[in-house]
Amino acid sequence: MSTIGYESWAVDMADVGPIYPLQGWEFPMVVIGVLFWIGWHRIQFVREHKHLEQAKQRALDHERIEQSVERY
């Protein structure tokens, strides 16, 4: 058994198509890939929101903001 569908290269390359594992499972693989991509956005949105809320709290310190502006 071979995950790519070929156990040997004793073939005519003119007859060979896909050579990746899990042929026939392209759509489910793409679904998993899309979930990875959407999940990444979700994590990033949540983290950035939390980070900015914390930064906002720190920024209430007026002297600190002045120093940052001065720093350019």
Binding site: Y6, W9, M13, Y20
Partner: protein, 457 residues
Amino acid sequence: MDGNLNALTTVFTEFYYWVTVVFMFLIHVGFCMYEVGASRRRNHMHTLMKNVMVIPLVTVTFFFFGWWIYWAFPMFPFFGGLDLEAGAANLPWAETMGPNAADRITGVFWAAFLLFSWTAASIVSGSVIERIRSSALWVHAVLIGSVWWIIDAAWGWHYGGWMVKYLGYHDAYASGVIHAIAGGYALGVIAVLGPRIGKFAKDGSPRDIPPHNPWMLTIGIFLIYTGFWGFYAACNVPVISPEGIGGEITGTTWTATNIYLAPTSLSGITFNFLMSLSGGLMAAYVVSKGDAFWTFSGGLAGIITASAGNDLYHPVQAMLIAAVGVVIVYNLHFWVERKFKLDDAVGAVAVHGYAGVVGLVIAGFVLWGAPSSPYEGYASINPLGQTLGAIIMFFGLGFLPAFIVAKLQKAAGVLRIPEEVELEGLDYAEHHAYEDAKQAIIEADKEHLSKKLTAAE
């Protein structure tokens, strides 16, 4: 070159490898920029020179004996003697090792492998910055670049290598044969070399030593990505006929192949290079909580993790494998750093070594049962063969020789720079000419200013 088609194929192949070599030069440019950017101001020149001199030292030794090892060692010493017949055409005094109208491939093929050698040595160079003696590093550079990595290439990256034949070892774009071995080698050296002064607090907790120039690091790693793309192309045979392979492939259809002469396509590996880069970047961004340098390095680690099987993976598989690898590699780096108090200045052991090992093992499962070679009687790809291969690369040919040589260098007192010099900075201690000239011209300008010009002028 008899016949127009044969001539065209030969000249195309010659040009193809030549272009990949030029692209791969960018890997070394990138490594130099990355190392200099990561070092502190007082160590710039030394850090740069340490890596630049890897180029000539590895080049000449690879010409003298490295290239011959690749052709002579595929079965040596465990499953046969030296292949002196194949090696003969690649000895430095062979007629094919120079301009020769009857051979248009040896030079560009030699150069492609040589650029891989520079990369292996340069990976080690990054992890030891700011405290190793150049003389010690350059011995390691020759050993990893012209001896150890090319032995592993003969065993596991040659169509007749014993690891390919008996273990079913598959490592199309060098997760193991370049990255695992170089990471293991770097680990062996830094285990003996010790951390930079101040790296660990008294309670053992590690301190970050920030890069002096983050933008130089950024451009450096993007150049490494670019060169890595050229490296991928260099690992393929661009076009070959079934008769040219001489294996089991039937019919008359020509194909591109991987290094083992098994079919793949430039198109397929382009998908997978970009998808594994992306999977690595995305996972590294999340796991490092947006740390810029770990994110960039994660892109590289992602490609390295997927590289063993990127000739055959589906692009989504390449992306996910890269992401999984990066999460493992990132956590392993910090665990090892804390546990063993090791100072890997650029994360090379993790990004190259751990990623390479993880990538080999994953490929064993995902490509289980696929043919490792177009030739008859070869083992198929399997998890055990890949895991054994990873151990051979990382520990057997990487960590172990590095550890032994570094121990010898330490015993002889030629491994590490003196503590006073480390604190003063290597540029001031070693590069007097530059510093003295700078000081002299500043003094001269000051003197001129005081004598010739007044404030009003």
